[in-house]
Structures are given as structure tokens and as C-alpha cells.
Assembly symmetry: C2
């Protein structure tokens, strides 16, 4: 159905670049919305049957505030899923991608405000002489929360490019959130306990649909997830972070994403030339079951393309015979960016990164710096550990994510008194 509608994309890291159905996140998101809506009457069943339907005076025994919280969460989520799918189909402009998520956060922020959400941050002890014990950010805090959705969405969208890595990282983050919720759900404060129960209501079905999607999207991918899934996942995290009153803790669960963002900054802000695609490069010559190429392909993008086209041809020829997908375990190398036209600042940054061992560099015959490996976490793993299969790269990345989560939970529970405090009063 998706292929027929032209909602599809090519898997660049496979021999023959097969055409896969795109935007499969819409299925996951739809199932999620159906499940959470069906859970709506179940969640409030006790309150509903207790509620007398004939007397108006006792209306307030029903927990309308909790209903509003749940509805606003679903509304913001549904809006983002809609936006994500529209983006997949229509390729929205950037201004819409920044403006519309902010609008979609309005219901969340209203409900956060009504639930007496705090707007102050605890100042780390080292800085208390300057700012005092806590700093009330007031409206700025709402701006910060309004940007959570944009941050979470793009954090996941930016660490992408190989099969299953977007869904995998979301799965790890959601598990971390669930563990954190379970650790806190027995809090003596009933409001805190409810916050974490509420978060579980939303994160458990998310884990379920993500696991199913991961099955289809992990190496070798049978489907792509599209921006729809990134929007959906990002907003789910933003929703539980904001309405669960642990938005600052949530950021700790995004350590690899934050590192990836900081590492990418020179490219994102165009301090150094940035190619359109930065995903690791598939090297057919190093992969089993493809003919070895005579020329070295490292950095030779035109060579590589020509060879890929050949593969495409041969794949099209053999498309009638069903070949087991698992066979094509291609080898990935870091992809390269060209440094021609780079500013002096740009060259300096790359030299520093090279000195720190964070990039590989390439020199021409006159010893000019002409190329460097793209600044993404995936390329960095390949720089540090050498070329590897796509499957292994994904598992390394998810391993890093899991280690990051353990570190985050450790920080939150052992160093928390330094920086954090319960945000729910």
C-alpha cells in the first residue's frame, strides 16, 4: 500500500539500494493512539462507575484534572504524528517544522500550569553565592518546555541513517524512562506517584509499538520508519517529561544524542563544509557476496556511485529470485566531507578534532587538508573501532545508549542533591 502510494525510500547501505516502504512509523503511531484511546475508559473506569449520572452537585468527585492531563497528552501526540506524516509526504519547510510543534505543545503547557508546575531550577551548590538557592525562570521555563518537543524530535532524527538506530535508541530511552518511573512510583507524595504512573501509562504502549517496529526496521530493514516515527517518539518523551514533571531528568537520558549534537555543531552551523548526507558509507568491495573492486573506494564517491548503480542493475536482474535478506551484511566505513572552500576557523576546528582523535583526515599530494570524516556519532564509532558491518554498528550505538542510561540513572540518584530536586511540589 505504501509502495503503491509512492511513500518509499532506498536503503543506501545495501547492495542494489533496494526500495523499501517509508513512514512505517504511522502504523506504530496509529496502533499507539488506538491503544491509548481504548485505555481511556479503562483508566477512569472506577471513577466512572462511582460517578452518579443523575446528580450534578457531585461532579467534582470525578478526577477531571487527570482526564484533562491524559487528553492533552494524546492531543499533542496526535498533532505531532499528523505533522510528521505530512512532513514525510509533503516535505514541509523548516519554518513549519519549528512553528507547528510549539503550537502542538500548548495543551501540554496549559495543563502543566494548572497542575501547579514549578518554574524554578535548583542552583548547583557551587553557584549559590551568585544566584541563591533556586532561580525562578518563570515564563522562560515554559519556553524551555515548549522547546522540549523540538529538541527530543530532532535529537532522535539526527542520530540516524543506519537500519534500526532511530527506533533502537527510542526503545532504550523508553525503557530507561520506565525504569525511572518504577523507581519513583512508590513515592510518599501521592502527586509524585501519580506523575510516574501517568508516565508509565504513556511509555509502556510506546515501548510495545517501538519493539514491533524495531523488529521490522532493524538490520536488514524491511521497512523505513520515516519522520513520522521521530516526531512521534520525540513528542512522547516530551509529554512524559513535562506532564510527569521530570523534564530535566529526561534530558539526562539523551546523553548520546546531546553528545552527537555537540559533536555535529561545526557542521550543523556550517563552520565547516557539510555534505547533504552524512550517513556512513557502504563499501561493496569490503562486503561478502559482491565482486571486489579493483580501485580503492575510500573517499572516492563517484567510483562508489558507479559501482552502486552496477549493483542496482544486477539486483534488478535477479529480483525474481527471492534472496534471503540476512546474507547481505555489508561493511560500513566513515563517510567523508570535502574541505575545499573551508574557512580558516573551519580548518582549525578539524585540526583540533583530528588532534583529539575524533576525526580521520585526508591530505592531497601537497599536504593540504582536503577531507575529514563527517561529524556524527555513527562515523565516530567507525573512526575509533574501524570499518564494521551495519548490524554491529547499530548494536554498538545502542550499547552506548544503554551505558548512557545507566550513567544517567546513577547521576540522578547519587549526585541529584547537587543539582536536582523533585520538581513536583
Amino acid at each position: 500500500m505504501f509502495l503503491a502510494a509512492g511513500v518509499s525510500g532506498r536503503d543506501m547501505n545495501k547492495p542494489g539500494k533496494p526500495l523499501l516502504a517509508e513512514s512505517m512509523g504511522i502504523i506504530a503511531a496509529t496502533i499507539y493512539m488506538v491503544a491509548t484511546m481504548i485505555f481511556l475508559p479503562i483508566q477512569f473506569y472506577q471513577s466512572i462507575v462511582k460517578e452518579p449520572t443523575t446528580s450534578i452537585s457531585e461532579t467534582h468527585t470525578f478526577p477531571y484534572d487527570k482526564l484533562g492531563q491524559y487528553l492533552s497528552a494524546l492531543l499533542s501526540l496526535q498533532s505531532m504524528v499528523f505533522l510528521g506524516f505530512a512532513d514525510d509526504v509533503l516535505n514541509l519547510k523548516w519554518r513549519f517544522k519549528l512553528f507547528l510543534p510549539t503550537i502542538a505543545s500548548i495543551p501540554l503547557l496549559i495543563v502543566y500550569y494548572l497542575s501547579h508546575g514549578v518554574t524554578h531550577v535548583i542552583v548547583p551548590v557551587q553557584m549559590r553565592s551568585v544566584f541563591g538557592q533556586s532561580l525562578d525562570l518563570g515564563p522562560l521555563y515554559y519556553v524551555y518546555m515548549g522547546m522540549m518537543a523540538v529538541f527530543c524530535t530532532n535529537a532522535i532524527n539526527i542520530l540516524a541513517g543506519v537500519n534500526g538506530v532511530e527506533v533502537g535508541q527510542s526503545l532504550v530511552i523508553s525503557m530507561t524512562v520506565a525504569v525511572y518511573n518504577l523507581m519513583r512510583i512508590n513515592s510518599d507524595n501521592p502527586d509524585t506517584a501519580y506523575c510516574h504512573l501517568f508516565s508509565l501509562y504513556l511509555i509502556l504502549p510506546f515501548m510495545a509499538v517501538s519493539a514491533a517496529l524495531f523488529y521490522w526496521n532493524s538490520f536488514p530493514a524491511v521497512v523505513f520508519i520515516g519522520d513520522t516515527y521521530c516526531y512521534f517518539a520525540g513528542m512522547t518523551f516530551a509529554v512524559v517529561g513535562i506532564l510527569g514533571h521530570f523534564s530535566k531528568t529526561l534530558l539526562l537520558f539523551f546523553l548520546p544524542q546531546i553528545f552527537n549534537f555537540v559533536y555535529s555543531c561545526p557542521q550543523l552551523f556550517r563552520l565547516v563544509p557539510c555534505p547533504r548526507h552524512r550517513l556512513p558509507q557502504f563499501v561493496p568491495s569490503l562486503s561478502p557476496h559482491t565482486q571486489p573492486s579493483s580501485a580503492s573506494n575510500v573517499g572516492g564517491s563517484s567510483d562508489h556511485d558507479a559501482e552502486a548503480e552496477e549493483c542496482l542493475q544486477s539486483d534488478a536482474d535477479s529480483s525474481h529470485t527471492v534472496t534471503p535478506l540476512r546474507r547481505t551484511d555489508g561493511i560500513l566505513e566513515p563517510s567523508w566531507a570535502d574541505l575545499s572552500g573551508a574557512s580558516a576557523t573551519g580548518l582549525l576546528i578539524i585540526r583540533i578534532f583530528a588532534w583529539l582523535g575524533l576525526v580521520h583526515t585526508k591530505y592531497d599530494e601537497r599536504a593540504n587538508l582536503v577531507g575529514y570524516t563527517n561529524l556524527t556519532l555513527l562515523n565516530l564509532i567507525l573512526v575509533k573501532l574501524g570499518p564494521m558491518s551495519e548490524r554491529r554498528l547499530v548494536w554498538y550505538t545502542l550499547g552506548i545508549q544503554a551505558l548512557g542510561s545507566l550513567l544517567a540513572l546513577f547521576i540522578r540518584h547519587n549526585l541529584a542533591t547537587l543539582i536536582y530536586e523533585d520538581t513536583y511540589k
Copy 2:
């Protein structure tokens, strides 16, 4: 952007069948969602500033029930818009189109239940000896309301096919709803008054975005609206009908749609053969600015297609010269359905309809009944009033809709005591 993404369709009733952008209802729906979300803090502004943010004990001064009502309305709407757009892009199967709107109605029904919605209908006086004064439908009433969304959506979707008729009828219905709300908003019962205020909150922005869309979609259409708009409009009406507690009155505003449905039944339920497209037939030979054809086109569908293809050709040739759109005011005739293979029942139905003057029929040389005009309101207008331009056909249809609305308001306010009663206790 939409044309580039392949979200487009051909206008069959114009010379050359130009390609227009489809699904433009998504723009209207997105603007609507943005407007209603921005209205969220405005609507509750007084309650929010009154609400003390430090004391939990006074939480219940905030009208959480109204917030829940508004949020559930937006959630159901957003879900249907999402579904509509997915349908436009992916051509969903029928089982999803019936199943998913029902799920999307859950938030509405929960909130309706909580607002002490009645589930009984007043029995008309003539039948009170049998059923008593009122009949409590209980859960059946919720099934009825759950089907409102499906009914409203399809009621609009089915009276379609010429430029602007879907948006135009929705515009007329929404104006009728607004007038009805204004007539009732000064009710002595504050709950009734709030219901109609709530309905206005949702129907006024709907009127605004529909008017804008009508400007672009009315003859000669520059864009198409797609299923997205029909889902969006249908759900808007269902939402205001259910949460405004006037779902039965709302049905009165759909008189032309209900007539169209009943009139179409023999075709919809396949009692008589039904062609895939039933929209009125464009006759180039009767239209100005196209060469008259030598053969008569009435009922000659293959002739017509051939000619349309010629037009397509000539239009493609002349596509470099920008021709003013307003010139091509083509003439429409009723479209014909083939009766070969019809059952005896089918033939009888068509004979009865012909005897009532509701269809034109066609006989072969041996006096066998072989064709009839398709059973839609648009074709019926053409049968009764003769061939006319597309522009005029739309205005006649909208005139009928407006007359239906006047009749409905008259019935509601003068004959209501016979059948209706305030549904809000």
C-alpha cells in the same frame, strides 16, 4: 508542494481534465487546529489567572470539566484529520475507515457520559401508547452517537463530484449550526447556554477555514479538498452535535444529504448495477470554446472518453499559454448507468423511479430498458432542470441545502414539541 508530492487529481468536468493539487483540506484543518489550540489559553484565561498556583486545595475552582470537553473535541477532530490525510495518501481499506472513526469517538463519548448526557429519546405523541412518553436507549444511544462521525463524514463525501459542492454544503450546514446556537445561547439553563457557546467555539473557526477553502475550490476549482476535508467537516459536526447535546437536531440540518443517501440506496446496496463514478457528465460539445462534436454524446460514454482524451491532448499542446480559467464554463448532463445484468427487482425499482420522474431511462431498439441516470442528487437536479453549467449546478445544490436548513430550523422551533425536547437535563 502537493503536486510535487503526487498528491493531486484530475478535474474530470473541464476541457483537458487539468491536474489539480488534492487534499487541500489538510491546510484548512491545520489552520483550524492551530486556531483552536491558540484559543485554548484564551478561553480559560479568566479561570487561569483566578487560579492560585500555590494552593492545591482550591484546584476545583478551575473548570476542568470544560477543559476536558474542549480537549476531547480537539483530540477526536485531530484524529479524524490524520485519518483523512492517511486515506488520501494511502487509500485505506473500508474496514479501517469504519473502525478507526469509532475509536476516535471514544474521548467524545466518555466526556458526554460524564456530562450527564441523556440517553433517552422522546417518543412522538402518536406512538406514546406503545412506548410510553420517553424511551431510554441506554448503551444503544452511545452506539448511535459513535456512528454520528461515520454518518456525517460519509453524508458529505457522498454528495460530491462537482467543484465546491462539498465545502459549500459544509459551509451552509455550519452557518445553520451557528444560527441555531445563537438562537439558544440565551437559554435560562446555564448548562444549555454553555453547550451552545461551546459549539460556537468550534463552529465559527470551521466556518472561517471553510469559506477560505471554498474560495479556492469553487468553480473553476484551483485545488481539490480531498477526503481530508470530508473527514474534518464530518467530525466537526459530530463533535458539536454530541458535546453540544443537539445531535438529533443536527440530523435535521442534513436533510439534502439524507435524501441523497436514500435516493442512492438502490445503487449503494447494489440492487441495480452501479458504475464506479457517478458524477455528472461533462459534455464538451455543448460547451463554449470547444469544437462541436458531430455525434451526439448523450449516454455514449466511450465517445465521450475519446473526446476527452482529444481535449487532453490539445490542452497539453497549449499548456504553455496561460488561458483564463473562468472561460471554460462547461455544460453538464446526468451521467448514465448501464442496466445490463440487472435483476428483476432492479428493473422494477428503476421503472418506479422513472414513473415518479426521478430518473431518465434509455431503451434499446427492442424496447428493453438498458440505461438510467445515476441516483445522486446532482444528477436528479440535472434530470429535473436540464443540462446546465457546473457553476449553476453547484449554486442550485447549495440553494437546496439552504432551503433544507430553513425548513429544519422551522421544524425544530415549531414542531419540536411533537418529537423533540431539550436533551440537556
